[in-house]
């Protein structure tokens, strides 16, 4: 087992506090609902509610792969934006060289974007 130096930044207490408050709010709400809310069980009450219309068929129907394609392309560009972040913070220190580096990086993405548009991958019939 390799020994790992563990020295976290204590500024993270604020973040932990926020996570804790968010979790506590959810748990509190659920607890209040369980205690204060009325409980009615029955055939009609336990049925899935679908805007007043009776539920039809199954929720798990296969749908167009287009949705998946849009989602996966979103993830790729999402990661690109994450790479922009450390560059933007150091924009002044990195100077022109940094700009050229980032232009090259974004250029590849733009090339990919051109390919996506050219192939009509984002078109909906």
């Amino acid at each position: 087992m390799p020994s790992i130096q563990l020295q976290p930044d204590l500024n993270y207490i604020a973040v932990l506090l926020q996570i804790g408050i968010a979790l506590a709010f959810v748990l509190f709400t659920y607890a209040v609902i369980a205690v204060a809310g009325p409980k009615l069980k029955g055939k009609n009450k336990d049925e899935n509610f679908e805007c007043g219309i009776e539920a039809q068929g199954n929720a798990r129907v296969p749908y167009s792969i287009k949705y998946f394609l849009v989602a996966i392309l979103f993830v790729l560009f999402d990661v690109e934006v994450i790479f922009l972040y450390p560059w933007a913070v150091n924009f002044k220190q990195l100077g022109w060289i940094g700009l050229v580096e980032m232009t090259l990086f974004v250029g590849f993405f733009l090339f990919g974007f051109y390919y996506i548009v050219h192939r009509g991958a984002l078109k909906w019939e």
Partner: protein, 164 residues
Amino acid sequence: MEILFYLLAIVAIASALGVVLSKNPVYSVLSLICTFFAIAAQYILLNAQFLAAVHIIVYAGAIMVLFLFVIMLLNLNILVETQRFTTARLTAAFTGGLLCLVLIAALRSAGDIKAANPANAKIGLIENLGMTLFNQYLLPFEVSSLLFLAAMVGAVVLAKKEIA
């Protein structure tokens, strides 16, 4: 802090086992999200704060949505008794074992792993990360854009084949 490390490691391994062992694929995805959060907490312990935030945003956010998409696309609701392909299982166990072997070998040869600069808790913050990324690791950064390009082309080609 050592206790926190072991606690997070146990959570990560337990939820990773939950991914493999649960019958419902949606529960598998939820367990995987739990694993990712435990790993993100490990990143924070290693002073890699930006990486931890990105890990949660990208993995627990975007990639898990993709996994759910795949589960919906597979239409697993019709519970077909899937054939237990012994050859597929053997291959999976063999390749998984090989990966495990490589990881163990890499960890053993790495020797004593230390944080890059344990005295500096700000090493993983976005300024330092950016300076390192755009100076020392510039080539891998630029090459990664090629990887993204390949991923984009691959996704479009595979999806278009389905449409046509």
